[in-house]
């Protein structure tokens, strides 16, 4: 996953990828029916799709065309999805969405830890697949550092996969989804004063309804989890503007 950080310098943008050339997606699955069903569903939704039944076919396809994203089955005869995924990551290949019949949380985390960009359990809602593809492409464009499993700050660690904080003394502190997203917003923009509106935009996208008060409550909760009542506070209140995350070093 480290190799891919070369793309980290992409400017941050929330705009969708350019639509003139369709994205090329490679579907790797040993079940021909499923492969075809996914392919036709994706074609209907405007993607260019190639298929591969196993690792070798995938390598051939990767050599022949420029692939933007791979949908990879977790369990396949021969070389299984996990080792293919690992290989792709070390080679610096395109983003990977793993699809697995084993919907367990552990598998999801293992897949993500190995560097898969997202994980989807079978059976999945087709529209969810589309949503994940879009999300992965958007992330791939803007900010690849999210793939590092751990973000470190001031002795704390944020586990981006399990979505929990690890206190300096090693105790895990669970975060609610909002708290996690909020902390990500701050961690991606340390040392920048953010207004409540900006924070809400980063959280929910530009067109969300604003709940000024709600954001204060969430931030005070997050601060409590960060034991943030010392002089050296991690999230500072900027009077008249909003909040600022303490600059990292």
């Amino acid at each position: 996953m480290c190799q891919r950080q070369s793309k980290c310098s992409y400017p941050m943008s929330l705009t969708a990828p350019a639509a003139d050339t369709p994205l090329h997606i490679l579907v790797v699955d040993d079940d021909p029916d499923l492969r075809e069903l996914i392919s036709s569903f994706l074609s209907q939704n405007g993607y260019a799709v190639s298929e591969a039944a196993n690792g070798q076919e995938m390598d051939v396809a990767l050599g022949a065309k420029s692939i933007d994203l791979i949908i990879l089955d977790f369990m396949m005869p021969g070389e299984d999805g996990l080792s293919i995924c690992k290989r792709l990551i070390t080679q610096g290949g395109p983003p990977v969405i793993m699809v697995s019949a084993r919907g367990e949380e552990v598998d999801r985390i293992v897949g993500l830890e190995l560097g898969a960009d997202d994980y989807l359990g079978k059976p999945f809602h087709p529209r969810e697949l589309l949503a994940r593809i879009r999300a992965v492409m958007r992330r791939a464009d803007k900010h690849r550092s999210e793939h590092s499993a751990l973000t470190q700050f001031f002795g704390w660690q944020l586990d981006n996969l399990k979505r929990l904080l690890i206190r300096p003394d090693g105790v895990q502190v669970a975060l609610s989804n909002t708290e996690f997203e909020l902390l990500r917003v701050f961690l991606d923009r340390p040392g920048r004063a953010l207004s409540r509106d900006q924070i809400l935009d980063f959280l929910h996208g530009a067109n969300s309804e604003n709940y000024d008060r709600a954001i204060d409550v969430q931030i005070s909760r997050l601060r409590r989890k960060l034991n943030d009542d010392t002089q050296d506070e991690i999230i500072r209140t900027i009077r008249g503007i909003g909040y600022m995350f303490r600059p990292l070093k």
């Binding site: 079940d31 029916d33 499923l34 069903l37 996914i38 569903f41 369990m75 699809v99 019949a101 084993r102 919907g103 367990e104 949380e105 552990v106 985390i109 359990g121 079978k122 059976p123 999945f124 809602h125 087709p126 399990k162 929990l164 904080l165 206190r167 090693g170 105790v171 895990q172 502190v173 669970a174 975060l175 609610s176 989804n177 909002t178 708290e179 909760r221 989890k225």
Partner: protein
């Protein structure tokens, strides 16, 4: 790997050691201990006591006397002949005469009685032992000598020497069993010996000393050896109690005596067999789940091509099947789930669940104690609580989640205001695939695995899950976890 002699040999050698030590110590006591001082007192000692009031005996005890104007109690009890004269055995006559001489008073002012009092564990002597015939015949007139006299002294009597020619040191050397003696003092008062309280005879003390010494020497050794003997068994028991069946479980180290090693190896073999069984079971369920889920995924995609009208119910059926398969898979792996435990802030976890699930399942936070830390797996604990919250939502619509710590336990209470569960069914609902039937159809029932999974996962964290009926209504689910 430590090897020790087998328990059989250890026990045998311990027994032999104890036996031999006991015998050796007692033999040593018998052979080496100083000659026990005889109980009782010599004539000199008796005379001295009678004269001065009390005296220290050669065996260390103090011979006391009592003085009073009344006739000492033993005198009226003495056996008397027709004329009321006390019947004295020959050596009592002798004792009386010698005492009278030592005290320098007339014979009539001295009384002696030698009634048996205490003779140790061999029972009582006949109250009137037969007078030794030899003495009776040869010295009837002048009285005989003491029964306890040694052969040397007896030979003196045998030779027919008159009593007054007996060596003077006789009085000091011969110890008589405690006897009664009293005299009338010049002032008219009577003074009598207080016979030492019957206690252990010196030879008995020697013997008991031997026993005590044996016990003192053997007890610590036996204690240490027994501990040494049982330690491997205790270790084995502790190891066996902690044995588990995950792939990462470590086998017991076979060590200690051969019997314990054999037991450890048998347990390891059993652990392996059970693990294989469990792995098989999990593998089968996983395989079935996999083989069901791929067709389900295909169905789900095919549904998209159907006319809108048919779609919804099919999508729902697929979702139901999916959740059933997922529950079964989770239940199958709940006990064996390879979990990496970490210290985690349970308060933060409970709070974050309330935030995340408040809209979906109508759960709200009750009092949540801060800083409750347990050892566990965040995902697993989330799963446990989510299942319970989901269940509460299904039957009651809303629930309240609280956390407090108490006596080293973290106690999570999920309270709802639903109909509750009949007391007879409170335990049954935790059984897999059990569903409370009345008024609950498939729509609300689920697979009947949610609570079972929650329970199995709670137990994998060393905790317990209990259901109670709330007051006045509703159900309370209590998850009780050990604090880290």
């Amino acid at each position: 790997m430590k090897t020790r002699p087998s328990i059989f040999w250890q026990v045998l050698s311990l027994s032999l050691f104890v036996l031999i030590t006991a015998l050796a110590i007692n033999t040593a006591v018998v052979l080496l201990a100083p000659q026990p001082r005889p109980a009782g007192y010599t004539l000199t000692e008796a005379a001295k006591a009678l004269k001065t009031g009390e005296t220290r005996l050669s065996n260390g005890r103090i011979l006391k006397t009592e003085t009073g104007s009344d006739l000492p109690g033993f005198i009226p009890e003495m056996r008397r002949d027709d004329k009321g004269e006390p019947i004295l055995r020959p050596y009592e006559v002798f004792l009386r005469e010698r005492l009278a001489r030592a005290l320098n008073v007339p014979l009539e002012d001295v009384w002696v009685d030698d009634r048996p009092q205490f003779y140790g564990p061999y029972g009582r002597r006949p109250s009137r032992p037969p007078t030794p015939p030899v003495i009776a015949h040869t010295n009837e007139a002048t009285t005989g000598t003491a029964q306890t006299s040694t052969s040397r002294q007896r030979s003196g009597v045998h030779s027919g020497a008159p009593l007054h020619t007996l060596p003077e040191n006789l009085k000091q050397q011969i110890t008589f069993p405690a006897f009664y003696a009293a005299w009338k003092m010049p002032d008219g008062q009577y003074r009598s010996l207080i016979r030492p309280k019957p206690w252990l005879e010196p030879w008995q003390i020697n013997l008991l000393l031997g026993f005590a010494l044996t016990a003192m020497i053997i007890t610590p050794v036996a204690w240490l050896l027994s501990q040494r003997l049982t330690r491997p068994i205790t270790t084995l028991a502790r190891g066996a109690a902690q044995i588990n069946f995950t792939a990462r479980a470590r086998p017991l180290t076979p060590e200690g005596p051969s019997e314990v090693r054999a037991a450890a190896e048998a347990l390891n073999a059993m652990q392996l067999r059970i693990r294989k069984q469990m792995e098989n079971r999990t593998a089968i369920i996983a395989a079935i789940a996999h083989d069901l889920k791929t067709p389900l995924a295909k169905l789900r995609l095919r549904v998209e091509t159907l006319p809108e009208a048919n779609r919804e119910s099919m999508v729902r059926d697929i979702a139901d099947m999916d959740s059933l398969i997922r529950s079964a898979l989770m239940f199958a792996s709940a006990g064996t789930a390879a979990q990496d435990f970490a210290r985690l802030d349970l308060s933060a976890l409970v709070q974050s669940l309330c935030d995340d699930l408040s809209e979906l399942y109508g759960v709200e936070a009750e009092t949540i104690e801060d800083g409750v830390t347990v050892s566990g797996n965040t995902e697993t604990l989330r799963r446990i609580l989510t299942n319970l919250i989901e269940n509460a939502c299904r039957y009651a619509g809303h629930s309240r989640l609280g956390l407090r710590s108490e006596n080293g336990r973290a106690i999570i209470r999920l309270t709802d205001q639903g109909p509750g569960i009949a007391p007879s069914e409170l335990e049954a609902v935790l059984e897999p695939f059990y569903r409370v039937e009345s008024s609950r159809n498939r729509d609300t029932g689920g697979a009947g695995l949610g609570l079972s999974i929650a329970q199995a996962l709670t137990e994998s964290h060393g905790g317990t899950l209990k259901l109670e009926n709330g007051k006045p209504t509703g159900l309370v689910a209590i998850v009780d976890l050990p604090l880290a």
